[in-house]
């Protein structure tokens, strides 16, 4: 089932196009990795999917216009000194359409605690956000995205400011979430592509698309094989 259908999408902030004639289908249950060089248009594509930017030409169709999308932004170190607890950050993920006059409803708080539990951070609910490690903070941000019960979760560079151990935990968490929801992740990280993603979109103004099953067999990856990340990135960058 196609959740998001992008057709002939073009966009530019000025005269010059950042994205040119992009076609992309996101199926239910996908773990789609979006890779490509800096300035290649990855984040712009996310903004278009989220509706922060409007396409110059082409269309982005959702299976259902009210499809809930969870978003985890790139910079988790934004306002790190801000006096706010983890649970309060998660509560920001509620749309607030059925809010009480003051504060948060019990069901909203329960839902936020459940989201923290899903990411394994329930013990840190009352911690100030700045006192958590990068990986813990990222998991709180993922919990915030889970609050809207999304069918699709979009993450922008979720591991860019996290140590190796924390990165592994984030990926395992995403794999777990992928059992019930579709994941779209922008990443520089080659390991996420090889181990977790079932589809890869390489974006550098234009898009080249890869089904990882085929790409893996093309590469005939065995643990003992020599494997060069640069070669793989070059291969993925080629228009197939």
């Amino acid at each position: 089932m196609t959740l998001i259908n992008i057709k002939n999408l073009s966009f530019g902030y000025s005269e010059e196009k950042v994205l040119d004639n992009i076609d992309l289908q996101v199926e239910q249950g996908d773990f789609l990795a979006i890779i490509g060089p800096n300035g290649g248009g990855k984040s712009t594509l996310l903004k278009l999917i989220l509706g922060i930017q409007k396409p110059r030409s082409g269309t982005i169709d959702f299976i259902d216009n009210s499809i809930p999308i969870g978003y985890v932004p790139q910079n988790i170190n934004i306002n790190i000194d801000f006096p706010v607890t983890a649970i309060e950050v998660v509560l920001m993920g509620h749309s607030g359409t059925k809010r009480p006059i003051f504060g948060y409803s019990t069901s909203e708080t329960m839902c936020a605690m459940q989201a923290l539990r899903e990411v394994g951070m329930e013990g840190y609910a009352k911690y100030r956000i700045g006192s958590l490690s990068g990986g813990q903070r990222q998991r709180v941000m993922i919990a915030r995205a889970l609050c809207s019960h999304p069918s699709v979760v979009i993450l922008d560079e979720p591991t860019s400011s996290i140590d190796a151990n924390g990165q592994k935990q984030i990926y395992d968490l995403l794999k777990e979430l992928n059992k019930t929801m579709t994941i779209i992740v922008v990443s520089h990280d080659i390991s996420i592509i090889m181990e977790y993603a079932n589809k890869v979109a390489y974006i550098n103004k234009t898009l080249s698309f890869h089904d990882m099953k085929q790409t893996k067999t093309k590469f005939s990856l065995h643990p003992q094989d020599h494997f060069c990340e640069v070669e793989l990135l070059q291969l993925l960058g080629k228009n197939s």
Binding site: I52, P73, E88, M92, S95, G96, G103, R128, R144
Partner: protein, 272 residues
């Protein structure tokens, strides 16, 4: 020492000091976490134009200053939302033009020799009963606004991009924060003067931020700390016969230094 409390002007001064401190605690917290300190300074100085306008037209000072300050807040909110990268230039401009208008209007006011210093450094000992009503009313409005829209204000202040994605009207709440800040700045001018307002909005907040887990607690704590500083400063200014606004600020500053030394000492102990 105690007999001074029997004077009506001193009772008014203490009540005004506490009302303004509580409002500054709430607003100062919002100003600091939203990094609007320079904007708040701009609004405070622009309000002088409103003081001039009030004297010229013969209307109450609070009314004139509030109109001007809210006007400045709306203009700054608009400019910040449209031209974020040039905002410092605009603030400097609005700041100077507001003060200049004030000076000219007072020049043009016939037969009125105004005491400029009382607006620059406050006149807490000259608070009337009407002033107290106005201050209480404003504190009440600020508390109501912040209580009802706490979650939106928190969301916009912490991560405005995400708040916008969640359907919160970010420009509206940003403007609302600036407008209630402008109104609070006007009553704070009465207590510490327009030059010192910034210190009143930031010093207690800085201490409270270190001790608070969340914004709500930071607002309460800032209000409490500011009240202590204001009452203490007021008494010291009486005992040593000093300008009250400046004394309040210096009491705050010295307390901040002591707090920082104490904090450093505690951190070192933790390391050992």
């Amino acid at each position: 020492m105690i007999e001074v409390l029997s004077f009506e002007f001193m009772q008014h001064a203490i009540i005004a000091g506490i009302l303004v401190s509580l409002a500054s605690g709430i607003i100062g917290s919002l100003v600091v976490v939203n990094r609007m300190v320079f904007l708040a300074g701009g609004i405070a100085h622009t309000a002088y134009g409103g003081i001039g306008l009030a004297l010229f037209l013969g209307i109450p000072i609070f009314a004139g200053a509030s109109i001007f300050a809210v006007g400045a807040a709306l203009l700054m909110a608009f400019l910040t939302l449209k031209h974020r990268h040039r905002i410092d230039t605009f603030i400097g401009l609005i700041w100077a033009v507001g003060m200049a208008i004030g000076v000219i209007l007072i020049d043009l006011t016939p037969g009125y020799n105004v005491d400029l210093l009382s607006y620059l450094f406050g006149s807490i000992l000259a608070v009337s009963l009407d002033d107290l009503y106005y201050m209480s009313g404003l504190l009440f409005v600020v508390i109501i606004i912040v209580t009802i829209w706490y979650r939106e204000i928190l969301s916009v202040s912490y991560d405005s991009e995400f708040a916008s994605l969640m359907g919160i009207n970010v420009p509206l709440f940003y403007t609302l924060i600036l407008v209630i800040s402008a109104l609070t700045i006007v009553i704070a001018i009465k207590v510490v003067g327009l030059i010192l307002v910034i210190a009143m909005l930031t010093i207690p907040v800085y201490i409270a931020e270190k001790l608070s887990k969340n914004l709500l607690w930071m607002m309460f704590l800032s209000g409490f700390i500011a009240s202590v500083f204001t009452v203490l400063g007021l008494f010291m200014s009486y005992v040593f016969d000093l300008t009250s606004g400046a004394t309040i600020i210096l009491v705050s500053a010295v307390s901040l230094i002591l707090f920082l030394i104490f904090e450093k000492f505690q951190n070192r102990q933790k390391l050992i």
